[in-house]
Symmetry: C2
Subunit: 182 residues, 2 copies
């Protein structure tokens, strides 16, 4: 079967395409769509999918993710991309200076528009590191997922998939596609 | 003439209604509308006005405002409401700890949907205070507009209108309405 993935991020497309390769042919749809300001990723993804529904052939999906820090009331949450581009990892670490409660969750929501709309959610609970460690993208170098022996997403490299929020939401999507095709 | 103001904030409605009272009867339309994630207030306001155009009788307008801090690459900008609700004035002051360049601009954009769409922009340049001073709403207690002798918006009280970004965008709208009616 064919499924379209709407994203302007080629890196994200390649990653998800690889994970779905045994059940679906993933086609890249590189168009921009609006993301609404809302407190939850589910609302953001739903609004975007509805906006796209008469513009892209079904089934199609999009993905949105964010880092929710408990001590900061969920900040940066659905605004993670913007916050990363402006204050970056340094800004988050500065906000967390002297804060002992460092729990946070990286979350990914996939909105699939099939005959109807389906949401698939993946979460990765963990902690905010005390300093920047490792490479990767976005907030990867300051997020330590539970069970990684203290390594950040940035330090885990390829092993990140095992722990990652997006790895989990994509597996939920994969399970749905397997059931749909059987 | 009658003009509709779409906002869920009664305080904002009363303030703007008073400023426009000599040229227009302002009718309150209390409905929610989506605000898109974008780097400029102009884009946010335009998207919202287009979304509302077949839902509200013309002429109508909406207003969006934000605080743009130079040393933080424009943060929190169009996401000021969300950032205020999560990290608040304390968070902004923490991000600005040890930062000597404290220039910032409070900006307001009004999108008026008349026969066509018009944007009216008001700006208030100034500085981020070293500490919270005075009352007011949102980031008022940490913003010192140029020309206020060091007082924050929060300390200026009623005198805020003289300096304020929204005072200026509403005056631009008022000038337009005067020309339109003559």
């Amino acid at each position: 079967m064919k499924v379209r993935f709407v994203t302007s991020n080629e890196h994200k497309f390649q990653e998800v395409k690889r994970m779905l390769s045994r059940v679906a042919e993933v086609i890249w749809v590189n168009i921009e769509y609006p993301e609404v300001q809302a407190a939850s990723l589910e609302e953001v993804a739903t609004f975007s999918a509805r906006w796209l529904e008469d513009k892209v052939e079904r089934p199609f999906f999009l993905e949105d993710s964010g880092l929710f820090i408990e001590a900061l009331n969920g900040f940066p949450g659905p605004f993670s991309s913007y916050v990363f581009r402006t204050i970056g990892n340094e800004g988050i670490l500065k906000l967390m200076q002297g804060v002992s409660h460092r729990r946070a969750t990286f979350k990914s929501v996939i909105a699939l528009m099939d005959r109807e709309l389906h949401l698939f959610v993946g979460s990765s609970p963990g902690e905010i590191a005390e300093e920047i460690r490792g490479g990767g993208w976005g907030f990867d170098p300051i997020f330590i997922p539970d069970g990684s022996n203290g390594l950040t997403f940035g330090e885990l490299g390829e092993r990140k998939d095992e722990f990652s929020h997006r790895g989990r939401s994509v597996r939920e999507l994969l399970n749905y596609l397997v059931r749909r095709n059987s």
